[in-house]
């Protein structure tokens, strides 16, 4: 996987759009999910996700391989884009646009999607009550299953700081759930 990742990045750096498309397709769900939990709704998450990949496409010729998967770099861009989004003070859009956005869903799919969404919204509401660092740690470490090293690289923090934050974030989340 790591070798494939490196090869795709190498080709994308040389301007191979198919290689970048492969990086995009592999990483889109996780980057979208990360942004979804940090923003108001699906439409906003989609808008920011698209910005992340466009920024990555423009920046990839200058990408510097530090021995991590390219997803760590994409999370870093996503985190900055979310910060920009909140700085620009865009107002929250109404929460439910599921059906408008997804006309292809059948009724069974819709029920399942809504169930997932309800549970996801519970987590999202809990996360909103936590400091940003805690949110990032929980999403990257427990939802995206990144290693401590990858989390540290994505957030620009030391390994020790990530371990401490992880402990505190889980403790805080547990307190909210109880």
């Amino acid at each position: 996987m790591e070798d494939l990742d490196k090869e795709l990045v190498r080709r994308a750096r040389l301007g191979d759009k198919d290689a970048f498309a492969a990086i995009y397709e592999h990483n889109l769900p996780r980057i979208y999910r990360f942004i979804y939990f940090k923003t108001a709704n699906r439409a906003t998450a989609e808008e920011i996700t698209q910005e992340v990949f466009l920024a990555a496409l423009r920046a990839i010729p200058r990408y510097h391989d530090e021995g991590f998967l390219v997803s760590s770099w994409l999370y870093e861009i996503a985190r900055n884009k979310v910060i920009d989004f909140y700085r620009s003070k865009k107002s929250d859009i109404s929460i439910d646009e599921e059906l408008e956005e997804r006309p292809e869903l059948t009724s069974t799919d819709f029920v399942k999607t809504m169930e997932t969404k309800i549970e996801a919204d519970k987590l999202k509401n809990l996360l909103k009550k936590l400091p940003e660092d805690y949110q990032n740690i929980i999403l990257l470490r427990f939802v995206e299953d990144l290693s401590n090293e990858e989390v540290a690289h994505s957030l620009g923090k030391s390994l020790g700081a990530v371990r401490v934050l992880q402990h505190r974030a889980l403790k805080a989340l547990r307190k909210l759930v109880e």
Partner: protein, 118 residues
């Protein structure tokens, strides 16, 4: 119980996915985006990559050739040093040899003083 609820929240969160429509829209948008990679730059970067690869192979080949040369040269030196030792021994002992042997020593160690026994 709390732990279980938190795990359940994480599991459900993993099911959140972007819609197919969004995936294809964004892919199309990425293909439309012009790159800072003009064809010439692509060509030169490819060339640079090729040259780097060629350089690595050439260095490896040179290193291998050097190692082979050194090992063969060491083995030649070893042979020479064995011959030298023999010559030195011959010089030290100033051995008595027959005429037949003397011819041999004359070839191997022309400077050796050989006493031919009668």
């Amino acid at each position: 119980m709390t732990k279980e609820r938190i795990h359940n929240l994480f599991d459900k969160a993993k099911e959140i996915k972007p819609s197919e429509g969004f995936l294809s829209r964004t892919r199309a948008r990425l293909y439309e985006e012009p790159l800072d990679h003009p064809r010439s730059q692509f060509f030169f970067e490819s060339l640079h990559f090729g040259a780097t690869q060629a350089g690595i192979y050439a260095t490896a080949a040179c290193a291998a050739a050097f190692i082979i040369y050194m090992s063969s040269s060491i083995s030649v030196n070893e042979k020479q040093s064995v011959a030298m030792k023999r010559t030195e021994q011959i010089e030290d002992y100033k051995i008595d040899v027959t005429l037949k042997d003397a011819r041999y020593y004359k070839e191997v160690a022309p400077n050796v003083f050989v006493v031919v026994s009668k």
